[in-house]
Symmetry: C2
Subunit: 418 residues, 2 copies
């Protein structure tokens, strides 16, 4: 069978399986999740054996040690896969929920019922634990999934896919509900992205290069986020100690992720009291500051920010700093350079807090809290399959609900239209 035929056949089977998955009740899905955890725990030795093949090849290909780290499955990562399955098992089932119901003047009772989306194509890089995580979320939300992971993880993904399939069969769910694309490379990916008749949604997770490739080649709707150029605005009426804690956390706690702060905006009236001490704290943590001219006047050691710094997503210990004369200037800056991802205001002024929340056009807008809270788990969605920075269908962290849609159900008693 050609690669095209193979992948198309997978998609057709995924769509057939989706009909059964739509009807699957919570207990059956939870049983499958429980069995998956069991099989992964029991299969640990075998999983690690297969994973070692990937790891050896990756080392031979001189891939970076960070890459090999993400690829490697040890006892700890395997345990965290099992724990993740338990957490998803404990989440409520979104399918079948009727979110609203109302009665029309003619007596029709109209409701909106949550249903699965159908077939999801999940595209990711060489992190085999994502295979299990994405599968569990798609399964719990009643969807079927076709997984296309990075080619460097193919042995790991194949064995994980096999174990997940065994669990599905034992739980009497269709084995084609979770399928790992067995071939590697971008050609296979392109084929998958063209199957708009069978696949309802594509979710890519990975670097900007992968996401741009997917977006450009997909004929299927894509939920994605490009980058997080997140801002904290330290208002004139901020509590200086609180601002310091939050700005430190937002930049330093985990700089390599999308919800880390990249630009700090500081009101001119608070800058003298706030910036020098903050700069010293950043310096001690190894953060490089790149400031506007007014910032440099307060922090002599800082580099001068270039125009390319304002839209930059550093993902490392670098921070752009700008002093603004008004809150409006901060809002204008965010509007111009932000990526609609996450912004936070630090203020004790009620009306400024409310204004920031309502006017900033980002997926998560916070008052007096770190940008690092833009995360499905942290916000209470229970789990996260990704973050969307475009507004259609989902905006911000996507949990189980975002893997569903709603249909209208109508209870009548003979009504016809006049």
């Amino acid at each position: 069978m050609s690669e095209t035929d193979l992948i198309e056949a997978m998609a057709v089977e995924a769509k057939e399986a989706a009909r059964q998955m739509r009807r699957a009740g919570r207990s059956q899905k939870d049983e499958a999740l429980r069995l998956m955890g069991e099989k992964i725990r029991e299969g640990e030795a075998f999983i690690r054996e297969e994973n070692q093949k990937d790891v050896v090849l990756a080392r031979e290909s001189d891939l970076s040690s960070a890459f090999v780290d993400r690829l490697t499955l040890d006892s700890k990562t395997i345990q965290s896969m099992v724990d993740g399955l338990k957490e998803v098992e404990a989440l409520p089932d979104p399918v079948g929920e009727v979110t609203q119901m109302w009665k029309r003047p003619n007596g029709l009772i109209v409701g909106r019922m949550r249903i699965p989306l159908g077939v999801i194509g999940f595209i990711y890089e060489s992190r085999p634990n994502v295979t299990v995580e994405a599968s569990s979320l798609c399964l719990k939300s009643g969807n079927t999934v076709i997984l296309k992971g990075g080619s460097e993880a193919i042995h790991s993904n194949r064995v994980l896919g096999r174990l997940l399939k065994e669990a599905l069969v034992e739980a009497d769910l269709p084995e084609k509900a979770i399928q790992v694309v067995p071939t590697t490379g971008r050609e296979a990916l392109k084929i998958l992205l063209g199957l708009e008749e069978h696949v309802d949604l594509i979710i890519p997770r990975g670097g900007e290069g992968l996401i741009r490739f997917v977006t450009e080649h997909s004929r299927i709707p894509v939920l994605r986020h490009y980058k997080g150029v997140c801002h904290v605005y330290v208002d004139e009426f901020a509590d200086v100690a609180m601002a310091s804690e939050i700005c430190f956390n937002a930049k330093v706690q985990r700089p390599g992720v999308c919800n880390a702060m990249e630009t700090m905006l500081v009101h001119e009236r608070i800058a003298p009291a706030f910036l020098p001490a903050m700069a010293a704290r950043y310096k001690a943590a190894g953060v490089e500051l790149r400031g506007c001219p007014r910032t440099l006047a307060l922090i002599p050691g800082a580099k001068e920010a270039q125009p390319s710094d304002w839209p930059a997503e550093y993902l490392e210990l670098i921070l752009a700093v700008k002093i603004v004369s008004t809150m409006d200037e901060a809002l204008d800056h965010i509007e111009r350079y932000g990526s609609n991802h996450t912004e936070s205001i630090i203020t004790s002024d009620y009306s400024r807090a409310q204004r920031f929340l309502s006017e900033v056009d980002s997926s998560v807008v916070l008052v007096n809290a770190s940008t690092r809270f833009n995360d499905g788990n942290q916000l209470g969605l229970g789990a996260e399959i990704g973050i969307s920075t475009s507004k259609l269908h989902a905006f911000g962290p996507m949990g189980l609900e975002e893997l569903t849609t709603k249909k209208f159900i109508v209870y009548g008693s003979g009504q016809v239209r006049t």
Copy 2:
């Protein structure tokens, strides 16, 4: 200025205007809607003069009388535009609604707030009343809109666009919130569909040809519906009189629309009591029946259905009829040939009604009511900008809420992530 530059400039201005529109309150938007109605009423003579230019050209081009009818603005259609504006004015403003709010263990208070999508490209055929209808819905939901109507309505659309703009300015809203593309033809449309940096959503309304063209050429997400192959399933336990009323209404009341029934599925146990009388009623109304072999045995006059009849969207007084042995056979038929648009079951059996509602994968699923109720007004959404038969973002009739998305708002008190 080239056509490309012109349309791109419109999109840039629409995006700038979107920032102001996000902040506009209900009273300001309602004032603009009120002024629009006033200006259209006062400008009636001028509107009709401009519209006559389009009508004369359409007649000269030998366009069908149905086409000329839809194009023509008389006192009655102008009055109904004004009435439509009043109805939208009376609808609640979806923007700013916080649909949920919860508290996290660390004290963060998390809510989801409705916000506008941004810039909407609305593509339609030569029905100038749609210019006003789409504008009013986009305005009320805080979006800006670029309108690309059929070239045959260009004089009408230009004058309507001018009046709408006057109302915006008087209400102190940005005049670029509603813009009519002043040039005609598919080249202009293609340019608009490529502006993914400035336009957030494309909504096409029109025939299948237009919708396919838009989908194929758009780099922007498209909300659309292709076709409505709607089914009524008359169950073994149906009330025969009710089934007759509903099946008659679903086929005959307005056969040319997407929510009219195209295939009737009849359980074998009720077929002898139901079908012959129903067929006589259809015959009197001029409906042509195309039946499966078992149907033909009961209705000797009917034509034999061909394989092409089961997936057909007739949009006229033709009905495909199939006798099924079980409810499962009806569900399988709908799964195979339906278009996920609208299906209805007629039954007095409780568990069959519930099963149909939960298993049928269509945007509107009804029990004991006509398929003709798949309509935003009829279901109580207040207004409708279109019907989506794909599941992403919206599934079924789209009202004001479907022109919004939700962002997360977070009230903190100094929380950082550990």
